[in-house]
Symmetry: C2
Subunit: 402 residues, 2 copies
Amino acid sequence: MVSFKDACATIEKHILQIPLDIEEVKLQDALERTIAEDVYTTHPYPLFRNSTMDGIAVKYSGNITSWKVVGQEAAGEYVDVPYEDENSAVSIMTGAKLPDWADTVIPIEDIDAAQDMVMLKTSALYKPQMNIREPGSDRAAGDFVLARGTYLAPRHFHLLASCGCTWVKVYKKLKVGILATGNELLPVSAIPEGDKIIITNSSFLAAAVNSCNLEYVDFGIAKDDLTSLRNLITKILSSDINVLLTTGGVSAGLFDFLPKVFAECGVDVQFHKINIKPGKPTFFGIHNAAGKAKPVIGLPGNPVSASVNFEMLLRPAFARRYNVPLRRSFTAQFKGTLQKNDGKRYFGRARLLPDAGKTIVVPLASQKSGNFFEYADAECLFVMEEGRRELIDGDVVECIRI
Amino acid sequence: MVSFKDACATIEKHILQIPLDIEEVKLQDALERTIAEDVYTTHPYPLFRNSTMDGIAVKYSGNITSWKVVGQEAAGEYVDVPYEDENSAVSIMTGAKLPDWADTVIPIEDIDAAQDMVMLKTSALYKPQMNIREPGSDRAAGDFVLARGTYLAPRHFHLLASCGCTWVKVYKKLKVGILATGNELLPVSAIPEGDKIIITNSSFLAAAVNSCNLEYVDFGIAKDDLTSLRNLITKILSSDINVLLTTGGVSAGLFDFLPKVFAECGVDVQFHKINIKPGKPTFFGIHNAAGKAKPVIGLPGNPVSASVNFEMLLRPAFARRYNVPLRRSFTAQFKGTLQKNDGKRYFGRARLLPDAGKTIVVPLASQKSGNFFEYADAECLFVMEEGRRELIDGDVVECIRI
């Protein structure tokens, strides 16, 4: 049995070692993907000297405070207005290119107009070079502006568009296989009867994998039969998946065949059983074949156990692989009392109550690892560390949003 | 000019009034959608009396501490093992149905086996009814378990699967039209030259709309021409979009035709100009036709202004419409000094430095509303309120992750 910390480190190490392929996607499909190329500017920013304001452009002279408008510059409609004398001004719009001779822009709010003359308001600030963006003042041509490995949020899309990235190289999504095991399992479409139950882990894992921006392949439900499990898992491991997640078959029951089957299929066990609750029976191994190392994670069959394992062990590793910021940890004040009588790290399910600037975390009534109704209601997990035996009102606990 | 608070309230009011259509999607496509139906259980949970542990099932008797194993119950493989006497036990797996006569499960860790007998360890706890899940103990048949309007996270998928939701009714994504205006604009595929620039707002808005789980329709780039703008916007407003976002053309320039065009197209202005920086020129109106009220938001052309407006005015309203939790506000300690000389609410761009349990917010060097390179680098916005004229080292400021 390994500690939670060691289990996390081992899983993360192996997930980080999976090589990521690169694919090109259209700019509009690059949101929430991780860019696989450095981005450089293709030209200076701005490309040309332009106005930051709507107003008039003039050649600065400290003595002159009224001008004759001799032309007009609209954004995208540059005309070469000739310089007449120091009283010349052009009406200019935000973003419009300045005539070569103009060096200062006065905002429209700071001038009064009378006939064809404009006059500086006495209250107005008037300084040379003001309200002008010089070519290359934001970035020069060829500047490095975005690093390979950045997880793309909306805020990056101006930059990508302006650098002409109609297509963007991004890291491909890892393909995660999902296999449920258990003779008691029925597909979601079935009506449960007798001693059978609907499989819910596969639907949870599909959603969880998608929410990590990865792809899943659902391999359905396998029976607890040694030979057929061995054949199926051999076939699955030789497919193009990068990671295999199974549920069930890793605990202490007579038909918990998976650790044995994994070994027979050439999976090198890294650990089996973690000092946590729920989720203790979890198996982790590596299948090496054809130069590829595929992590194999045998999750428990209990729905809450499988979910907590995914959130605590797998999501952080996948997020790290793709540089996805995970902002879900926080501390809160515990409400109620809770005891445990072992040295496992406990992940409870809870709801949150805002309370005058503090956050209160309230454990759900049922902490049973089979009760997925309560799990659906949980806003977060809270942590009761290995060495802790009791939580009481007001204790500060670590929480993880789910 | 309206206050920021009033602008938010007005936009939110109108976004919340847009009726949402309902569509059915497959369970695996329902992640991050908002469910449009209440969910009830179809059967009791558990459906049958079963074991929570791997071990033996017995009929409790205080005096008996050793048993003869007379049968086996595997999950999903119920066999009717007849009761022999009070020394009878069946080997039982987690999740397996119990024989009618058995009322107590002893975990495998708490028994010793010798020949065909099993004995209770002296250290073991032994109580009647232990380690058994009774039918309906989690939920009864027909129980209400998930409310219409819930935004679906992975944690809801066990419940959905177990209730047989192979298809899920969800609220349709609003369709948001995006139109860029300006004679200076070139598409992303063009090479900028002369006084032209690449349009970046449309790519930002497409990503931003997608990140709100909405659909967009990109109507491209329109010239600053009254007649053609009027025709185009009339056409766009008669299409099946629910909301129109435009960029450019709402400021004080001679060719900022949009407010006039909107009025001519029958858009009732709700406000024009907000007491904020950046993003002051923003227009908001409602187009009523064929019984539909379509919000029309004229965003400024400056990339940072358009982005800040989206984040501060539109994202919260869309999130509220779909019950998406937005957890992006926090407070941090300001580092540096910043002055302003007006009463606008200022949204600065900044990066974050963790520092011994505190978060430090450091404004980016350039706070220019045209510099989208700095905007891409920003991790958050920070707020300098209307009445505040200065921020200094250590001031606590409100921040919003972007």
